[in-house]
């Protein structure tokens, strides 16, 4: 019998029948579906014992407490730590902190710019040599910008520069500096502290206390504690500012203020309160009261947009409260000037000042270092305005090319500097322009310290600790100390600096390394001046007529200038805030109507130096004749999560000297809006 076609068909039929009654097809059917549960290209869960480590966030400006969860020794989650004095939950930034350790924006090895202008990865030895060479060549003409304002790194930087004969250590502008300036002028010693815990009424003027101002996670925990679910609040909270921001959303009331008119509003309140007989035990109170006579409710209305009735009601609420606290600040934590903080502090003194503290700052532990106050007193924006051209520039966790007002001129200044080095964990805009980029460990990867961040009410000292060994980062402070090789009495390692700092504060260093926090009560302030002359001069400069005022809005979910937008936080951006690469600016319907704009219109916003493009969003939670611009967009470096999203609001900022205090400020910015 030949194997013809018919036989073959029969064979195939038999084989088919046999296979069908064997386990083969059924097992395969089952296994294929099981295979689809465990595709090799889908990441697998890590396995291992769960452990926790307590620490304090160095990355989040709120310095909130963290409980880091590790699986098999690998950090996997940042959790809140309710027992931490500045903790009790997480900011949207701190929640992403563990993930940020693996962000694509991280600098993974030291980088040096070659002659062709490209970065090439180099080893640490070569990197430290390049650093030494570059700095030595500059001699004493070295400037340094630090983005860290709470760490002992400032001591090291200051001592390092001092040892080389330079005193050009600057901080990135922040509210803390404005407050320190005001405090110093008034005669305070350390930095102003706010005992929110004991206050029973909080008036936040411009300060976005529940989102970005001060120790905002602590602020929020205190806010929450006084508001039992669904019940009448135990502590009053009023927010005054140009935008109905996150703080305004949950405030008992929102008092709309024209951008930059915070000072006038505070003086208006002070005027009413002095008329009602309140006084402060300040040597210059009499002239203060006299000066306030010029701020009658009608004038305040004209300058701030707050009706006399609202002003009276607010003053009455402050009077009713037993321990009221007025917090002034700027929405975006910078550029608000010192005068408004000075005025708020004066207003608090009028109200009894029971919630004010004078937080002493530890003396520098390095002999050659200046005190923090001295550093805070320097004005980076003013320095940049002089168009200085130092021979070398050290950027320490600072991103001036993104975050300074008029960032383009910062970029020009950087380009004109012969040698610039960036100590940065992320490849940010400024690092991208440097000659040498040295990868920093993040807060969760390094031992560092946080001392009394602005906004807290007690002496606070805590350490961030290493939860993960990262192979190729080195703490910039260790590098600089190594470079100094003991000159100027500098210790060999940063740890020694921190130990000395702990000792100076009387804190147990090893307990701090284990995640504990040092706290000490801060005294009430001594006799302070009210400085009516300064306030008056600052207030008089507020009269300028503005056609369309810029109202920046900060959301910590979009990260800081260094981090950019953390990968997980991209999803928190609302659909009407960003569409693809295009962001929205917002105006209310009256403003839109008067300028012939509609929702969705593409517009060009122009300030004195720069301009941005965006789409119009109609949002009624903003004062008329003001335009809300979100901060945190418009990155051109970092990673795909930050890049190509909207525009950088700082392009529109124009810094001017504040009359009276001499500090720079940028809170009354006139912009033009043109439909394109």
């Amino acid at each position: 019998m030949g194997f013809d076609r018919r036989a073959f068909l029969k064979f195939a039929g038999g084989a088919g029948a046999g296979i069908a009654v064997s386990p083969l097809p059924w097992k395969l059917l089952d296994d294929v579906s099981i295979w689809s549960q465990n595709w090799s290209w889908i990441p697998a869960n890590p396995r291992g014992e769960t452990t926790y480590e307590l620490t304090t966030s160095k990355l989040c400006p709120s310095a909130c407490g963290l409980k880091v969860r590790l699986t098999g020794g690998m950090p996997v989650r940042a959790l809140g730590n309710p027992d931490h004095p500045l903790g009790g939950g997480l900011s949207a930034l701190a929640a992403a902190e563990v993930q940020l350790m693996h962000s694509p924006a991280r600098v993974k090895t030291p980088l040096r710019r070659d002659s062709g202008g490209n970065f090439i990865p180099i080893g640490w030895e070569e990197a430290e040599e390049a650093l030494a060479g570059g700095l030595d060549a500059a001699g004493a003409d070295i400037a340094c910008v630090s983005g860290d304002e709470t760490g002992s790194g400032l001591d090291v930087l200051s001592a390092f520069l001092g040892e080389r004969g330079s005193d050009k250590l600057y901080l990135m502008p922040s509210e803390a500096q404005s407050a320190a300036r005001a405090w110093r002028l008034m005669g305070g010693s350390g930095q102003p502290g706010y005992d929110l815990e004991s206050s029973d009424f909080i008036l936040a003027v411009g300060a976005n206390v529940l989102e970005s101002w001060g120790t905002f996670i602590r602020n929020r925990r205190i806010f929450a504690a006084a508001r039992p679910h669904g019940e009448e609040p135990e502590r009053g909270f009023v927010y005054a500012g140009p935008v109905q921001n996150n703080s305004a959303a949950v405030a008992d009331s929102w008092i709309p203020l024209k951008p930059g008119s915070e000072l006038i509003f505070i003086l208006g309140l002070a005027a009413i309160l002095t008329q009602r007989g309140l006084s402060a035990a300040a040597p210059d109170f009499a002239s203060f009261r006299e000066m306030l006579a010029g701020f009658d409710p009608q004038k305040v209305y004209a300058l701030t947009g707050v009706s006399p009735q609202t002003l009276q009601n607010t003053a009455a609420a402050l009077l009713r409260a037993d321990r009221p606290l007025v917090l002034a600040g700027s929405e975006c934590n910078q550029g608000g000037g010192a005068a408004q903080i000075l005025a708020a502090l004066a207003l608090n003194l009028l109200l009894g000042g029971r919630c004010l503290r004078d937080i002493p700052l530890a003396r520098p532990v390095l002999p050659a270092a200046e005190g923090r106050q001295e550093v805070q007193n320097r004005d980076l924006v003013a320095y940049m305005a002089q168009k200085p051209n130092p021979q070398a520039l050290i950027l320490y966790e600072a991103n001036p090319v993104y975050a300074l007002p008029d960032p383009e001129s910062a970029a020009v200044a950087l380009r004109n500097t012969p040698f610039k080095v960036s100590f940065s964990a992320f490849m940010d805009e400024s690092s991208a322009l440097c000659d040498l980029v040295l990868p920093m460990p993040l807060g969760l990867e390094r031992l560092d310290d946080i001392e009394s961040p602005y906004g807290c009410g007690k002496v606070f000292y805590a350490l961030s600790r290493r939860t993960l060994e990262t192979a190729d980062t080195r703490h910039g402070m260790d590098i600089l100390l190594r470079l100094s090789a003991g000159r100027g009495g500098l210790p060999a390692s940063y740890r020694e600096v921190l130990e000395a700092r702990s000792a100076a504060l009387g804190a147990d260093h090893s307990a701090l390394e284990a995640g504990e926090v040092f706290e000490a009560k801060a005294p009430a302030p001594g006799r302070l001046m009210l400085l009516p002359e300064i306030l008056n001069r600052a207030a008089e400069s507020k009269n300028s007529v503005i056609s369309l005022a810029l109202a920046p809005v900060q959301k910590i979910a979009l990260g800081t200038a260094q981090t950019g937008i953390p990968p997980f936080n991209v999803k928190t951006i609302r659909g009407n805030e960003l569409s693809g690469a295009e962001m929205s600016i917002f105006i209310n319907s009256a403003t839109a109507y008067s300028r012939g704009l509609r929702e969705g219109d593409r517009v060009r916003l122009a300030g004195k130096h720069g301009e941005i493009r965006a789409r119009v969003l109609i949002f009624e939670g903003i004062v008329p004749d003001a335009v809300g611009v979100p901060m945190g967009f418009g990155h051109t470096a970092l990673d795909v999560f930050s890049r190509n999203k909207g525009a950088n609001a700082t392009e529109l900022f124009t810094a001017t000297p504040e009359a009276g205090t001499g500090f720079t400020l940028w809170n009354q910015i006139d912009v033009s809006i043109v439909k394109i």
């Binding site: 059917l29 294929v32 579906s33 295979w35 689809s36």
Partner: protein
């Protein structure tokens, strides 16, 4: 055999007594169809290889063009079971002249729908879970069971047609088999009718039970929401006419008469009758939904169910009045029905109405914001979804072309074309 003509190369395979174009012409006809098929297969490959992210579907519109397409072809493919029911169970004899086509169209519709479903589910390798891990409370389970079973029935109904192919028919065993199949046809027709009624209904039930979706949600009878019955009725009210439209389209393409006007007219009359029943209930249902279900169950008004132009009320007017009532009138009134142009217009409107119905039940249901602080969403299918849908249409055209050329599916063809033949009119197409 027709004398004095060139015979196609494959003439030995062609049905006896038929006239077909040349093989090369036929291949030329298949070429564009093949290209569309390839395009669709490319889209299908993309979906299977990368995932459904390549489509225009999103989390608001988990259902979109494909589900609309599936529901539409399944409704329009209802000609198969309903004609089968009328022909074999109710013994309406003239329908024997179109039943073969109805079966093939039904098979194409159902197998095509299943093909789309394989693409449309995220994990096609787990498709069999529908049987093995069935949730008996889900309308979709019923759909999965009935559609696959009914597709098998359609295969069984299709097989004897294939076996009647001229060359196959010469083999005694096969002729025997084909005959035996025919004997059992009433049984399969019955099973088919049962399965079809249920899954047509369950498809409607799928929407009617969604009590979180006020646009679709309907109260009902026992476990079946009113949409269950409406979907059955609308399917039988349009399926037969879709078969007629396909027959007429084939006539247009081939230039040969395939089904007598009388048969078409009967189909039209039957569909019209069912359509009128459907429309009455649809109007009642809409009224009840508007005045009771919507306000009382969802706190929403009729007006809130429509939005702008894209989801406007005109769609509902078009669906129920222009594509519902109007064809009803035409199909039921003999004088109107017998006017050919009006008849076809009515048939087209009828089918269009059902497609619109399936579209709004799928897409508008999902577009309508239920959360008070949400807003209307819009959906635009992308090329992948269109290509895959066209894949099914091309596949249908391909199968129909082959079936028409090689299988004796039109019993009347020879008789109807005897005159034409003598007039020398060539059969043009496939």
């Amino acid at each position: 055999m027709l004398k004095g003509k060139f015979l196609p190369l494959d003439s030995e395979l062609l049905p006896e007594g038929s006239e077909r174009c040349s093989l090369s012409k036929f291949i030329l006809w298949l070429l564009p169809i093949g290209l569309l098929l390839l395009w669709g297969l490319y889209a299908a490959f993309k979906v299977l290889a990368n995932g459904l992210g390549v489509t225009g579907l999103d989390d608001y519109f988990g259902f979109g063009l494909w589900i609309t397409f599936d529901l539409a072809v399944i409704a329009l493919g209802a000609g198969a079971f309903f004609t089968g029911l009328l022909r074999y169970i109710l013994n309406i004899d003239p329908l024997k002249n179109i039943i073969n086509l109805a079966v093939i169209v039904g098979f194409i519709c159902y197998s095509g729908a299943m093909l789309i479903l394989v693409l449309d589910i995220g994990q096609p390798l787990r498709a069999w879970f529908g049987y093995w891990h069935a949730n008996v409370h889900s309308m979709l389970t019923e759909v999965i069971f009935c559609i696959t079973c009914y597709c098998a029935v359609l295969v069984i109904e299709y097989i004897p047609l294939i076996l009647e192919q001229r060359q196959l028919d010469r083999i005694p065993l096969i002729r025997h088999l084909a005959h035996n199949f025919h004997v059992f046809m009433p049984l399969f027709a019955g099973i088919g009718a049962f399965l079809s009624t249920f899954h047509q209904g369950s498809l409607g039930g799928m929407y009617g039970v969604m009590f979180g979706r006020p646009y679709a949600f309907r109260e009902g009878f026992f476990i079946w929401p009113w949409t269950f019955f409406l979907f059955v009725l609308s399917a039988v009210g349009s399926g037969p006419l879709f078969t007629v439209l396909i027959a007429s389209l084939m006539e247009k393409i081939t230039g040969r008469k395939l089904v007598s006007w009388e048969v078409k007219s009967i189909m039209g009359k039957i569909a019209g009758t069912m359509l009128s029943v459907y429309i009455v209930f649809k109007l009642l249902d809409t009224w009840w939904w508007m005045t009771d279900t919507l306000p009382s169950r969802a706190g929403l008004t009729f007006d809130q169910m429509f939005y702008g132009w894209i989801y406007g009320k005109w769609l509902m007017f078009l669906e129920i009045i222009i594509c519902g009532l109007l064809p009803c009138v035409i199909l039921l009134k003999k004088s109107l029905r017998e006017r050919v142009r009006l008849f076809y217009a009515a048939a087209l409107l009828d089918c269009l109405g059902i497609v619109i119905n399936r579209y709004v039940m799928t897409v508008q249901t999902l577009a309508q914001p239920v959360l008070p602080f949400d807003s209307w969403a819009t959906y635009v299918p992308n090329w992948v979804e269109w290509a895959a849908s066209i894949l099914v249409i091309a596949y249908g055209a391909f199968l129909l072309s082959l079936s028409y050329r090689y299988l004796p599916i039109f019993p009347q063809e020879a008789a109807l074309n005897r005159d034409c033949g003598s007039l020398g009119l060539p059969g043009r197409g496939s």
